[in-house]
């Protein structure tokens, strides 16, 4: 178990090192998120729809779509020089491969979110204030599950010719439950409702995370089991 964890962290560290050298995926995702926020600001009639009403939806659509952009990176990286065979040949368990890529994806998504959230506050003039801890909690809960699903689907999508088209087709249905929950909670937190009132949605998100993380970890090895 600890061996799996150690190898997973090695793999994630390697991914991070590679990404920091080229920075392509990360920069693209951050710029994308910023642009989407800008577009949403203009894609409405300011007289009839206030920015505040739309804000939670905008935040979560931006988060999830920008995250989707980063997922294919994980396994596209391993295609160059067939590096994936180097990983599969080694004693590294398939579970460690999944965990490592999952950690790397979480890291990238968290980075994108860390940049997007302040921009969101800025552009939409939303005061987070006391809602911040709650917002952070719902971000964590809503993200953990769909990043696992994205990791599994991107591992398959990169084996097809149109990976960047295939991934959203497969993944988007899986984003709906977390988005529904996340937007509900975010709306209420921004309206000043206490976190304690959101327990049922938070529990829903938590169950989604546990179920899909487990399922993804179990199904992932089949992808590479030729």
């Amino acid at each position: 178990m600890t061996e799996t964890l150690r190898l997973a962290l090695e793999l994630a560290a390697k991914d991070l090192r590679v990404e920091l050298r080229s920075r392509t995926a990360l920069v693209s995702a951050v710029v994308f998120a910023a642009l989407v926020l800008v577009i949403f600001n203009f894609a409405r009639d300011p007289a009839s729809v206030s920015a505040r009403t739309l804000a939670p939806s905008v935040l979560w659509v931006t988060f999830t779509f920008a995250a989707m952009l980063t997922f294919n990176r994980a396994f596209a990286l391993e295609k160059e020089n067939q590096a994936i065979d180097g990983l599969l040949l080694s004693p590294m368990p398939r579970g460690a491969l999944f965990l490592g890529k999952y950690f790397a994806n979480l890291g990238f998504v968290a980075t994108v979110q860390a940049v997007t959230l302040p921009l969101f506050v800025l552009f939409f003039n939303v005061g987070l204030g006391r809602a911040l801890p709650g917002i952070l909690l719902v971000i964590v809960l809503a993200t953990a599950g769909f990043v696992a699903v994205g990791t599994v689907f991107s591992a398959m999508a990169v084996r097809t010719r149109f990976a960047d088209l295939m991934l959203p087709i497969l993944l988007l249905p899986f984003l709906v439950p977390p988005i529904i929950g996340a937007v509900q909670v975010t709306t209420r937190l921004l309206a000043g409702r206490p976190l304690s009132e959101q327990i049922s949605w938070l529990r829903f998100l938590g169950v989604y995370d546990i179920v899909f993380l487990t399922l993804c970890a179990m199904l992932f090895p089949a992808i590479f089991d030729e």
């Binding site: 497969l170 709906v176 509900q184 049922s200 992808i223």
Partner: protein, 232 residues
């Protein structure tokens, strides 16, 4: 493990026979709907589409579940026939999904004035439709049969587990934002004749599903059997 063309052809014949029986059943349901069941007080004649709409949704869900289950069995047993069945079930499910998504609006427009309502059944079927499309898109993008089977199985199982979450979140979503529809699109209150006809229809559509799937499965087997004869 891949059977001979004769066995495949036999499967097709059996499937067609079941389909014919089921289609006779559909005719029976039509007659029942016309003559036996009363006209619903508030919705009028248009309500009768319900006898096709609801059982199709059921068949779509059944198709989807079987795709997921055979996918799981494939990962365990690695029998390529399980993958062929899953593929057949997905295609048939897609057809039933389209039926639901077209009868829904046809029913909805004259009664509620809108083409689309986000009611539980319609929304869920829409999701199943997208999951099916994703499943078929992935399959068409992979050449290696073993890889295609494994990947399809993963998508099928994940989709199957997603369904309850979608259902729950849409249900919560709707309870928090009740639709201003006084009539209940999902489950109209039913007279005994309506209920009986509905149950008959559900039974008929289940048989229809098996008829379609068996035929389609037989066709897939035949294709594999012919390919095997060339390959060896």
């Amino acid at each position: 493990m891949i059977p001979t063309p004769e066995v495949a052809a036999g499967t097709i014949r059996r499937g067609l026979a079941i389909t014919v029986v089921a289609l006779l059943g559909v005719l029976a349901v039509y007659l029942l709907a016309q003559g036996y069941t009363p006209i619903e007080a508030r919705q009028g004649l248009a309500q009768k589409i319900f006898y096709v709409h609801a059982p199709s949704a059921w068949a779509c869900l059944l198709a989807f579940s079987l795709t997921g289950v055979t996918g799981g069995l494939y990962l365990w047993l690695r029998d390529p026939r399980l993958d062929l069945f899953g593929e057949s079930s997905a295609e048939v499910g897609l057809i039933f999904g389209v039926i639901v998504l077209t009868t829904g609006p046809i029913w909805g427009k004259p009664i509620w004035g809108t083409w689309w309502t986000w009611d539980a059944r319609l929304t869920l079927t829409l999701f199943l439709f997208f999951l099916f499309v994703g499943y078929m898109a992935l399959r068409s993008a992979i050449a290696d049969p073993s890889e295609r089977a494994r990947f399809s199985a993963v998508v099928g199982i994940m989709g199957m587990i997603l369904v309850p979450f979608v259902h729950l979140s849409v249900y919560f979503f709707r309870t928090l934002h009740p639709q201003p529809v006084l009539l209940k699109p999902s489950a109209p209150s039913m007279d005994p004749q309506m209920l009986r006809t509905l149950l008959v229809s559900i039974g008929v559509f289940t048989v229809l599903y098996f008829g379609f799937v068996t035929t389609r499965y037989g066709i897939a087997l035949l294709r594999e059997a012919r390919g095997s004869a060339d390959g060896d």
